[in-house]
Amino acid sequence: MLTSAPHRIQRVELRDIVKRFPGVLANDHVNFEVQAGEVHALLGENGAGKTTLMRILYGLYQPDEGQILIDSRPVTIESPADSIRHGIGMIHQHFMLVPSLSVAANVALGLRSTREPLLDLEVVKERVRQLAEAYSMLVDPDAMLWQLAVGEQQRVEILKSLYRGAALLILDEPTAVLTPQEVEEFFVTLRRMADEGHALIFISHKLHEVLSISDRVTVLRNGQVVKTLKTADTNRQELARLMVGREVLLRVKRKPVQLGPPRLVIQDLWALGDKGLPAVRGVSLEVRAGEILGIAGVSGNGQRELAQTLAGLRKATQGRVLIDGDDVTGWAPDRLIAQGLSYIPEERMEDGVIRDMTVEENMMLEDHGRPPFARGIFLNFSAIAEHCDRLIGDFEIKTPSRRTPLGNLSGGNIQKLILARSLSRTPSVLIASQPTRGVDIGSTEYIHQRLIAQREQGTATVLISEDLDEVRNLSDRIAVMYEGRIMGIVERDEATVEQLGLMMAGVPMEEAAGQTG
């Protein structure tokens, strides 16, 4: 399975690309260009059209209008196979890997073998080793994919593209799954690839990453190019403004709040993950009234299972949970809600709302059985209507009416609805899991302000997020979770990115503090 020597691409140009989906103009006459040796960042909010544009370049979608030129030659790219042939590789947000196969088999998939129809994995392994060494990306070609950490899986993805002779690499939000240290290593690899003459497109909505790795930035908003500019000539504030279309507060203001007694107490909590292995392994935490406790960590380290266990959706195998002094371990969600718990789930479309029901019905999912919204077995529609209209106004939820099917709302507005539902009963404890993931900057800003304001009501909040900036901005204290355990809890003012990053990689707190201090 030896591939042709990587042919160089000097310049790839997308001209006047238009792509329509039913009801949406995803790309509106977009012009974009990338050259060999540069990292060109494509910046924009979710839904700005970044991924659509790149999927067109990779042959996953066909443009309705426009042209793709490689080294000034117009080309048609009808499938991923075509784009691979042209020397284009794409690293997807969700890895395109087969977990039950080895690294080498994943690389070999879809390639012609040197001894067709038989596999030639030995040849593949040798070449993977060479490539891995050349770009200093350590990967064992014999390892089974499911055994690899997420960062390693990403390296396999990149090797897969390089193996196929990719001269242009499209990286779709590649840092979302990495710790800060891994991001640094990853950027070194990207630089090296660019220096060797590869062209790289870096899709992101994280401003500081774009600023630190790219040579040029193109900002997309609502399917249109706002501007392409040299990274050296811009700054965070300008990029944020271009991306959102108005001035943005990058940091929320926090009023100091007097902390009350502990409202949520977790003692040595254990729970199993989906595969039947312990995912939460002896977590003990205390959250006080008026406090936000942030839980940072790379995804898949038990945060999801912890949130579900606290919300009553997963059984605790050991340990206790107390809310306001009452032992609520093993309570079903409806009792927990009655006890004052609110939960903003990570998978909002799956666990948080019902797409085909109306805004109003979704708003009432948790409280419809309680007065004043229910009288006996009957629903009190006037009370429900009044409540919903008030929340829609209070929380700035953009919807034509409370009777609109929820599926018609944007992600940000759906998240605001869940927030409204959770906060409307002034919870004693709030579990907020990835509250702004996939949400536009405007809504994120609003949700952050609300979570901060909720402290003044005496709510004890657990904020679980993979976005380290979010955790650092909002939390009073930051706990880092790694492999189901809490590696330590750092006070807000003492937390540095380096220390948190080391803890996210499994280094205990004291040691991490020592290494960076």
Binding site: S79, P80, I84, M96, V98, P99, L101, L109, L119, K160
Partner: protein
Amino acid sequence: MIQDLLAPAVLIGIASSGIRLATPYLYATIGETFGQLSGVLNLGVEGIMLMGAYSGFYVTFKTGNPVLGLLAAIVVGGLMGLGMAIISVTFQAEQGISGIGVYLFGLGMSDLLFQKSLGTVETVSGFQPVEIPFLSQIPVLGQIFFRHNLLVYAAFLLVPVAWFVINKTTWGLKIQAVGQNPAAADALGVSVSAVRYATVTLGGVLSGIAGASLSIGLLNVFQQNLTSGMGFIAVALVYFGGWSPVGVLLGSLLFSLVNALQNWVQVLGIPIPSDFAVMMPYVLTILALVFAVRKVTQPAALTKPFERGEG
């Protein structure tokens, strides 16, 4: 009476007929393994087996040549597999439901054709046992393993062949990838549809042969619902065998031995009500699934149609 079962001649008889009875299970399970590995659950195996059994029998009855009968079963099985592929891959129908449709079609159609063309139960001279020189003369083992018809030998040869194809060829790699992560395979230029069409059609061919191995190999008759649930047991055995040819071989042997045992229980007149004896394989199916399923990793995309650009 029970001790009669332990007489050497009887034990050899049970083992030998166990090997023979494994034949239809082997063809059907290996065919279904290919389909399921690529992500398509074909519940219509039973119906395809019935059509294969009928067409194989009818052509053999008319021509006197079981090889032609086998070819007919292959063509009919392949066409039905292709039909299932069209329904589940191109039209993306719910696989559990469409498979039941294929089963009911095969059940009804094979009986209709049987009633119209033959009307009564006839017998044919199907594939005859072939004693393998020297090997068949080995005491005990020769009797158990080397005095069967060609379809039996071929079924057992299919196991290593299938293992090799799945694990050592580029096509096998594509099958596994398409069943585990079709989006990944697609992104690397593998045609998910082409792979699934091929595996489901192959599964149909092998199911057709499985049916023929009954009607012109083991029993040499055809009647309504000849397979009586073997196709469904085969689907269960694929889960039991953990989607590996060796696993389905073990499962097939387990079931055929239990079947052989219950036959001999009846032959010897051991005073167990025959209904209980007949029940054994089915009870075993349920038990096997209860205890086997959880351990293995099933193809992640099993029963899920693939459409580009969803994720």
